[in-house]
């Protein structure tokens, strides 16, 4: 398991190839990569990402441990950037390895759903008109319900 929180860019190709390599028992590798999209008006200059140093790594590690407890995973990788990013830059990635594809897919979706709403990051859209905090989307909170059916 590897958890990385950094301001600098990461190399998706090197990370994906490095993660997938040398895992002979793992038949399935899933990666998710988040990219900074422009806003609806095409005016986004930068995306600012604030985080809570100290808590961030701890929270992501807990989420990854939950995924490992729930699915049969050979390995988990989470990389998340903070600081200021331009449209088109990669914000974050997760990767999961498992024997069969179902575990790798479900665990990657679980990681994404929890990282969105439970890891201490806050996004801010910066245009020439100023900076605006991105509001949490209700559907991101709702997405967590999928993983706790008994608690709604």
């Amino acid at each position: 398991m590897r958890i990385v929180v950094q301001a600098t860019p990461f190399d998706l190709g090197a990370e994906a190839a490095g993660f997938a390599g040398g895992k002979p028992g793992m038949g399935a590798i899933v990666t998710f990569t988040g990219v900074v999209r422009d806003n609806a008006n095409g005016t986004l200059e930068r995306m600012g990402i604030e985080h809570y140093p100290g808590m961030t790594e701890k929270a992501i590690t807990q989420i990854a441990e939950q995924a490992k407890a729930r699915w049969s995973l050979g390995d988990v990788l989470v990389i998340h950037r903070h600081g200021e990013l331009r449209p088109g830059e990669m914000i974050m990635m997760v990767a999961t390895a498992s024997r069969h594809r179902k575990d790798a897919f479900e665990a990657a979706e679980f990681l994404m759903d929890y990282l969105k709403s439970r890891a201490p990051f806050w996004k801010q859209e910066i245009t020439r008109h100023g900076a605006e905090w991105v509001a949490a989307r209700e559907e991101d909170e709702d997405a967590l319900g999928r993983w706790t059916p008994n608690q709604g």
């Binding site: 974050m92 969105k116 201490p120 806050w122 801010q124 905090w133």
Partner: protein, 81 residues
């Protein structure tokens, strides 16, 4: 204890963290004390449903106890990923 603020909570209060001496027994009581201080605190804490709290870097609720706690953080719902 250390009290930390992030995102627009930090902006409204005007600082990222401060040392607070308190006898509050729960997060909710601490919030009441902070609200009573100044208008900017009252504004930041006006709607608790729009806020989240972490105690010693663990997400928790506003009724969490504060005994022995070293760090409390207030922030809006997270928007990572």
């Amino acid at each position: 204890m250390e009290v930390l603020y992030f995102a627009w909570v930090r902006e409204r209060i005007g600082l990222p963290k401060e040392r607070v001496e308190t006898t509050a027994e729960t997060v909710a009581e601490l919030v009441e004390e902070l609200r009573a201080r100044e208008e900017r605190y009252a504004l930041a804490f006006s709607d608790l449903s729009a806020l989240r709290v972490a105690v010693d870097q663990e997400l928790t609720d506003f009724d969490a106890p504060l005994s022995g706690v070293r760090e409390v953080a207030f922030f809006p719902p997270m928007t990572g990923g």
